[in-house]
Amino acid sequence: MFIKSVNITLNGDPLDVPGPVSVTALLESLTIDARRVAVEYNLVILKRAAFDQTIVREGDHIEIVNFVGGG
């Protein structure tokens, strides 16, 4: 199957990823454990259950956050 490339903004930086793909597939391709992150898709925070159905397309703005050390 022919997979195109889409340009997205990921955590503030432009990035070309194969797509359109689901958020689950995007996380997998970035070797990110989906259980340990939160994803904001075009300013809407996704429930983890929606990762499979949400498709990343050209021009989308994605934020992926996790927990780091803090006080």
Partner: protein, 264 residues
């Protein structure tokens, strides 16, 4: 007697009971391994974490959560670094999705150099998040009126600072902490400013229900030893507060009998 005081002394926030009145951070340790040992030594069962962008370009870094046993340790995401109510609300929502609960340590910072809170924005963010079902633990100034407003906005606790974050200056305004305890119907947690064990004890002696700290432990030369010292300090202060100290007097009162002295 001590048994009865200890046995009946639960630390409850929004219906959840904690074993320890010491809440500690996860930032600035020399390593994750040292952090894990310090957590163990502290006896704490709640730790704060920050919410930040995943490093996309460098995936080699180990994950903080590999060093925290979340079956024993309750994770409290913070909104550190947020300067507006909007930013703090957005970060709180992300923390909820990344984590396991709807609790948040709410910070809205008003000034970079002091990291003092913007209390107006803090109250606004508290109101929004409480409406969304969050359990909100706001970091605030040591101002009894602001604490009252936060409580009225639905905060689960109030967390007045003892001194600026990371300063280690100790409790700068003890009388305000005492008044905040007197005014509040929710638990009072002294958050920030502790430098050493006696500061934590002092906070608890003033009536604080808990103490939250990061740098005092993480920045100590031996974080694991300091973590244990803080465990004892918080416990000592709590016991002293509940035991009821003697009143201060201006002159001496002899501890030994004044009658029966030899040669009189």
């Amino acid at each position: 007697m001590a048994g009865s005081i200890v046995a009946s002394d639960h630390f409850v926030i929004a219906g959840k009971t904690f074993q320890s009145r010491l809440i500690i951070g996860t930032g600035k340790y020399p390593s994750n391994a040292v952090m894990a040992k310090a957590h163990e030594a502290s006896g704490a069962d709640m730790v704060t974490v920050a919410v930040r962008r995943v490093n996309i370009s460098d995936r080699s870094k180990e994950s903080l959560l590999d060093y925290i046993d979340t079956s024993k340790m309750f994770l409290l995401p913070n909104t550190a670094g947020c300067y507006t109510a909007d930013e703090a609300v957005r970060t709180a929502r992300l923390g909820r999705e990344a984590g396991l609960s709807n609790w948040v340590k709410l910070e809205v910072i008003g000034d970079e150099r002091t990291l003092f809170p913007d209390n107006e924005a803090l109250v606004e963010a508290t109101r929004i998040l409480v409406r969304e079902g969050f359990v909100v633990l706001p970091y605030t100034s040591d101002d009894p009126i602001v604490c009252r407003k936060l409580e009225d906005a639905g905060a689960a606790v109030v967390m007045p600072l003892g001194a600026p974050i990371g300063s280690g200056l100790g409790i700068q305004n003890p009388n305000n902490i005492r008044i905040i305890r007197e005014f509040s119907r929710v638990p009072v947690i002294v958050d920030a400013g502790v430098g050493t064990a006696s500061d934590a004890t002092f906070a608890m002696e003033l009536g604080a229900d808990g103490v939250l700290m990061n740098t005092a432990i993480a920045g100590a030369q031996d974080p694991v030893a300091m973590a244990e010292s803080m465990k004892l300090a918080v416990r000592a202060g709590r016991l002293a507060y509940r035991a009821g100290r003697i009143p201060r007097k201006m002159y001496a009162t002899a501890s030994s009998p004044v009658e029966g002295l030899v040669g009189r």
